[in-house]
Symmetry: C2
Subunit: 468 residues, 2 copies
């Protein structure tokens, strides 16, 4: 025991000599402090000068600095001066490795973008190396910005899983399956078989990764195939994720092909009764929202992507008012063009005020909850993460409040929503493991991920200019 | 002459010994480089490996590194490795010192916000010290984020002018005038008289500041007073700035009181024929946009503020299509809650796609132009700033491209609009004067502006809790 620790223990024992708890303090692995602590439990508000005790990757207790220090001792502490401590953010829908297409093609119609840029380049370049480079870059950016859980839907999920294990992020990995040819597959049969095998054989010793079924969408997978997915998901007890009711063009296709909307179509297949992460959900009608409220569906709002691709504005306040757990996501960086959840939080808070004409409709706290507590429920991890609550996994972040942009400070939640950005995040912890300290990501090298991304981008750039 | 400079000169003389221009290079004060240079002249695109020569605060030439170095010599150079060089951003509408109300009150109706928070606190606390602290904090944030020109409308403009002179920012300062009591004034007569005197007596030895008349709005200033303003503006040849057609409640008041819309009302007063910076402009109809296209009005789009206060979505693409010069602004930080023009650029690019259902309606380059070339025209400084053009003032910024968030890089304009933020800006230059280097603002102390802001906020916080 180093002398200064010994002295501190003696001092504590003396100062607390009348309290029997002082000599029988519970052991914690780590105590993390915050001048402001947002547990993000419902109605909990902001705790000033607080702390969180962590052991074996689990949150033991959240309370005032004084209470936590009276009850717990820990060898490792992370100070909280001029910092806010809160749950890590949950990116409920992304295609992580698509970050390698960031800015490759913008400001064009969805059809032009997909058919002339994304699909051809995916067909040519998405392989295991692409996924390694893309998932690594995406993880660096997401950990740097305070995201601790992601819901990822992209090719070669077994390769992405290796990257996520190495960098330490928590993830639900959807194995993509679609009726058309896609990287590595000729169509439905092999993509479904590979996805099923991925889910069935998945093994994650760290317990942070969850395999899932990811049928692309109701307009790209025929009903009998969606039924196969649902049966397999039930059999293997794995969640599903899918794009649902994203764009006017999807709604047109569904109306023409099935005489139905996307939500009613998949409801008819029984897909609303089993956990389903439903990305985008821009176009549910009133009755469909009532159906969603009674279902196991977690819609994910992707405001930047929905604007950038001109998909429309999702009726998020209406869904929340009906008790639906609506999470937040960045979508892939190809249609965003970054993976900054703070921008999604801010946009969620702003957009619906502008659309509704009601400035009270989406308070700052609600937007924050969509990226934490409510978002965790939307993706089926409501008991695991999303708030700083005893028994939940210790996924948390600290933001620095020292920038002049954060002055003055009247309301910490307001600043988190309307001012904060990825660069204000300084600490990231998952399962009690420190992934970022002082703004430096510890599990990935910024230089290496940039270098690897450039190698992949070089090939893509060459192919783009050859086609021009 | 230091030895390495001597050697370099000799080497240059040898390598260029056949070119007579090598020995007769024109003197520049400074050459600034950029791996990518965006002049933001119409249709100019992106120049790779470029440079800008500056003398006496004016841009001499923009060209390739090789051409600029062949023609100009300068003792001072600023390297451009991994940087983009572009014009400084133009914040076309703000209330700078209101940054001290940042996050004081959010997510409430406009009436509640104004009547129960902003107006009472302004009445109690806005004095010269408040303006000094607020304008300093705002300038720090704006210079840090790459804004080089601001259009400011707030109380005690003569005090703000002192701060702007000290920190070196370019500004149009509107003297506020309103029919109701306001900080320092009992109503119209004294606010107009003081504003007129401010404009008439204004003296700025550096030439970066322009005084202006700032009647608050058509619903808060009666027609005869607006006529007074117009006459005085013409007499003193000073521009006007005003909130115009901002919110549904303004439109309701105008319809009830005058049986007219805001734009038609001020058109009837002759205010469209003289330079007018028209903040917000959310609710012009088709005919009014045609009138604006023939006028001297520069509408300023404030997307964040318009969403946050639930004012609505301005028909920006329609105005641009009619040839109207629409600029961009942050509004005051009380309704934003920061002064980051990159967020406004990104929102301008995203919002109108989502609203129109057309992903091609607002290309990245247009959003950038609104914050530079077009924005400069909107505020009447189109010949002075807004692009890197020979003869214009040397207002320019560099952004770093080294963050993994900027990888890969296919399209620099895409990254500037959809990825970049204030923290990526590393250099700011106004009139050839270096205001920020390596991300450090040179003319203001971050610690001091934060400290001064906290002093003011302490008083406000006390008053807020006393009222609860």
């Amino acid at each position: 025991m180093p002398p200064f620790i010994l002295l501190r223990s003696i001092a504590l024992c003396i100062s607390l000599s009348f309290a029997s708890s002082a000599v029988a303090k519970e052991r914690a692995d780590m105590i993390i402090y915050g001048d402001y602590v947002l547990s993000m439990e419902e109605g909990a508000g902001v705790l000033k000068n607080g702390a969180v005790a962590v052991r074996d990757g689990v949150i033991l207790a959240v309370g005032s600095r004084r209470d936590i220090e009276a009850q717990y001792s820990a060898w490792k502490t992370i100070h909280g001066k001029d910092k806010v401590l809160m749950p890590g953010l949950i990116n409920g829908h992304t295609h992580a490795a698509m970050v390698l297409f960031r800015g490759m093609a913008d400001d064009m119609t969805l059809i032009d973008w997909l058919q002339n840029y994304i699909f051809p380049m995916e067909g040519k370049f998405v392989d295991e190396d692409f996924i390694r480079a893309g998932a690594s870059l995406a993880c660096w950016e997401m950990i740097r910005g305070g995201t601790t859980t992601i819901v990822d839907m992209y090719f070669y999920p077994q390769v992405a899983a290796e990257i996520y294990q190495q960098c330490g992020i928590r993830a639900i990995l959807g194995a993509p399956m679609i009726d058309y040819p896609s990287p590595g597959f000729t169509g439905w049969d092999d993509s479904f078989a590979a996805g099923r095998a991925f889910v069935q054989n998945f093994n994650d010793p760290m317990g942070r990764l969850t395999p899932a079924f990811a049928p692309h969408g109701a307009y790209t997978v025929v009903p009998e195939h969606l039924r196969e997915v649902l049966a397999a998901a039930k059999e293997l007890n794995a969640p599903m994720m899918m794009h649902v009711a994203e764009s006017p063009s999807e709604m047109d296709v569904m109306a023409e092909r099935y005489g139905n909307s996307s939500v009613r179509h998949i409801a008819g297949l029984g897909m609303l009764d089993f956990p389903l992460i439903a990305a985008h959900m821009v176009w549910p009608d009133e009755d469909e929202m009532d159906m969603l409220a009674l279902s196991n569906v977690g819609p994910i709002h992707n405001p930047t992507s929905n604007m950038k691709t001109a998909a429309g504005f999702s009726p998020v306040p209406q869904m929340l008012a009906k008790g639906i757990n609506v999470g937040l996501g960045t979508d892939g960086a190809a249609s965003n063009n970054d993976l900054d959840m703070w921008e999604e939080i801010r946009l969620a808070a702003l957009l619906h005020k502008g659309k509704s004409g009601d400035a009270t409709i989406m308070p700052a706290n609600t937007a924050l909850a969509m990226a934490t507590r409510i978002g965790a429920r939307a993706i089926g991890l409501g008991d695991v993460v999303g708030s700083l609550s005893p028994g939940k996994r210790a996924d948390m972040i600290q933001l620095s409040l020292t920038s002049p942009r954060m002055a003055p400070l009247y309301d910490i939640e307001s600043h988190l929503v309307y001012v904060a950005g990825a660069h204000d995040v300084v600490t990231s912890i998952i399962d009690g493991q420190l992934l970022m300290r002082d703004g430096h990501v510890l599990t990935l090298s910024a230089a290496q991920v940039t270098k690897d991304a450039k190698v992949q981008a070089g090939k893509i750039r060459k192919a783009l200019s050859a086609e021009k």
